[in-house]
Symmetry: C2
Subunit: 315 residues, 2 copies
């Protein structure tokens, strides 16, 4: 692999500026270690893990790779204190936080020598993350899968806007599944990309095979930012989505939507493989994903295509 260095590879001590997003029911130790072994940064997604499960995944990940990896924590996670404790005890060196106030835990993590990155959907939140002492931010555009911001700013606009608003490095997320998209994001000012959907469709993701196969069949326009009265989340348009959408059009209240959503809906869809009535969180870029592959192959394809696009411009 061609030698490369920038602010993000130096921050994380990785070979290339690609980060696999921490995703519930998808990114356990198998995926994170496979991505890190390929020279990128793998993240364990702790949002769907009980505290003891997270501990187990961290330990297995350490055995599976000698390279840096990190943990993603949604700050609204109910057992957040236990997760933070586990991370410190296990001497995790990189933490990505999302969905909450970065001021709450960043200084504690930093005191323990941990690099902290916060995921944001606007320049305002990016500045807050910078002020909280974060080492970098992830600028997550409207096209990203899963939970998302209310302002709906897309990667094309959000990346340059956030790069102008903060001095810390910016990692672009949302809509990126290929090397040319990675280069587009870097030209917009990003120092790295965080990729989610394409890694869900990897052999090593813990997502159910039915969900992985469904991703490779998503058509353009096959996802939608839904549940805006609760927390906006980008979903694959399956039977469950259409029920939610119908209710929303008919003016369903917050309470009615919560009841319709029920409990365990995301696990049912993404982990147990019920692709009709489960909740399937995925990004717009899924329409560009054509097959389930080993994670290392995904890393190498994106990176080689990225380098190839640069070579084309040099001609």
């Amino acid at each position: 692999m061609q030698s490369f260095q920038n602010s993000i590879t130096k921050l994380f001590n990785t070979e290339i500026p690609i980060i696999q997003g921490g995703m519930i029911w998808a990114s356990g130790w198998r995926l994170a270690s496979a991505v890190s072994n390929a020279g990128a940064l793998g993240l364990i997604g702790s949002g769907s893990m009980y505290p003891e499960v997270l501990k187990e995944h961290i330990q297995k990940c350490k055995s599976a790779t000698s390279k840096p990896f990190g943990v993603n924590i949604p700050l609204l996670y109910p057992n957040i204190d236990e997760h933070i404790q586990t991370i410190i005890e296990e001497k995790i060196s990189i933490v990505f936080t999302s969905a909450g106030n970065p001021a709450t835990y960043t200084s504690l993590l930093k005191k323990n020598g941990i690099k902290v990155v916060h995921v944001v959907s606007s320049s305002k939140f990016a500045i807050k993350a910078q002020d909280a002492g974060c080492d970098a931010v992830v600028a997550e555009g409207f096209e990203a899968g899963g939970h998302n911001g209310r302002e709906e700013t897309t990667s094309m606009v959000l990346i340059p806007a956030i790069c102008e608003a903060v001095n810390i490095p910016v990692i672009a997320a949302g809509g990126i599944a290929r090397g040319n998209q990675m280069l587009a994001a870097m030209i917009l000012g990003a120092s790295a990309v965080q990729i989610g959907s394409r890694f869900v469709a990897s052999d090593e993701a813990s997502s159910h095979i039915n969900f992985k196969n469904a991703i490779t069949n998503v058509e353009e326009g096959g996802t939608s930012l839904s549940l805006k009265k609760l927390t906006p989340v980008r979903l694959l348009k399956n039977k469950f989505y259409h029920e939610i959408h119908e209710a929303e059009i008919n003016g369903a209240s917050k309470e009615e939507l919560i009841e319709l959503l029920g409990r365990g809906r995301a696990k049912k869809g993404m982990f147990e493989g019920d692709i009709d009535t489960g909740e399937l969180e995925i990004g717009q870029s899924s329409c560009l994903i054509k097959k389930v592959q080993p994670a290392s192959e995904i890393v190498h394809e994106i990176w080689n295509d990225y380098l190839h696009e640069i070579e084309k411009l040099k001609r």
Copy 2:
């Protein structure tokens, strides 16, 4: 200006692959001729013009520039046949069509030696435009101002998707106001960019100065895709928008929204300068637009920044 050629500059016989979007109440002969004189392609936006007004603008544009310019026609325009007749009589050589079925007029226009480009928001519509005989398509992402598609696919995903779906050249629109965004779009596969919002904030746009100044003050997240029960349109979040939004949240019917919208709302806002109660159509990229400038300066800045970004990658 550095010499450049690709499929789009050859198609339109322009010096550079930048197109100024045809926009109601903004792009008359002054703006279109200024853009064309700067080496890009100017478009007269006929959607807000009576037939005799379009004729006048075409004739004035011809006097103001010897370079190629075009006319944009929304195909749902009520006096569409008169507009088509004017275009043929005045020997216009380039027509951009939008908001309607490209099969209806493309062959008539082509028979009269006119290059035809259709604006689309999805690969499905891009293929229809190609099948109808269009010479190129504009791929318009979710972030674009004004009327927009229902699938909400953003430029980051839409550009590569449409480039894969059709063989004719693709012009990227939506979220592009700067040279680095233009290069990002070109790397995603576009052969040119169509820029709207930034040209509304030009000296030569016929938009009211109040609207131009409002654009330079739009904050990130300051626009929203609205009126989805009618035709989705991206609006600046002013007093009028908030009224519409409130009604939408409370489940207003299509009929109630039509009544709330009333008649002449866009003219009132964009042309007459009532920025509180008028309808202001503008894209997400407005948060990156800091000043009102001459159109030629906008063209040169974007093009020079684009070339500069390429030079940076060659280092």
